[in-house]
Symmetry: D2
């Protein structure tokens, strides 16, 4: 089980290469989509067509977000509950969920 | 009043330089934020800290979206209503509202 | 075209009976769904099952909201644009849209 | 620790009276707000004013939802993790997260 270390200032969590690769591919695609929007602005493209592309980016971001949320719950929150320090981890989980579902 | 031309395959709408510059600055910043998330993944950063950054990107995207939406309503939808072809423009506006508020 | 009167303190807009009936039916159903949630709480029903019902109420509310938004744009915003007072009506439309898409 | 029983068809979870009372008060208020919207429709009230009230209902529903979500995570998900059956409970929690943040 990956160790979620909270002690130091910068909190870390060890991810395996497969998971990292998958997240990076998605984020690279999102980066490309953002550049695509820039191009549409330069080309004076119709607002509605741009807005449809932006909704696609929001959906892609949400997908990455839920992947991270599920991973976090499965690893760090579970670890904390098993170690008897679940209260804080659950409170943090709820805060990030509220933030993320705005 | 900018002309929103729908005739051809690729719909366009003429934006002034000031507006373009503002939109591009915001989109460049969002692009940088997405690269920042990629760095956090590479550095095995804690999921919750990454999710908080992702919420900031979603908020920034929403801001750009609302800016485009207001501009579109003020120009293209208004033009269509004044030209007596408002029905289709309003219908399209509602579709984009729904898409964008998911 | 229904008259959207803004002069007095309480702003009104004349709706036809068919539209009123449809809106009221939906709102009565939503009222019933809220009472259904109360019953589930009394019966100590499992949180996840209650949350799924609550999502259904949120979706139903959103539908009514979009119906009102479309009607408002088609009547009051269109009227204001045709009367040359579109700026304020569009600004108000964007404010309500931001509020509604939180 | 309340027992979250999944065995039978209707899943239940025992809530204490204080929590029930708080949830019921909120839900009664929401029920009253929905009836308030009905009255506004009958009185031909301006769409924007109705939409603002509807956003208040959505916010109130979201608050009740987060309360249930936090309680569920603190009780049923924690119980499942401690009993070594966390996988299913976490999967279910993510499904409800997704549903609820639409």
């Amino acid at each position: 089980m990956e160790k979620c270390s909270h002690g130091q200032e910068i909190r870390t969590t060890k991810r395996d290469e497969k998971e990292k690769k998958e997240l990076m591919n998605r984020l690279k695609r999102i980066e490309g989509q953002v550049r695509g929007i820039q191009k549409m602005i330069e080309d004076d493209r119709y607002c509605v067509d741009i807005l449809i592309q932006m909704s696609a980016i929001q959906a892609a971001l949400k997908k990455v977000g839920f992947q991270l949320l599920e991973r976090h719950t499965n690893h760090c929150v579970r670890e904390a509950i098993e170690a008897g320090t679940g209260d804080e981890a659950i409170k943090e989980l709820m805060e990030v969920f509220k933030q993320f579902s705005k």
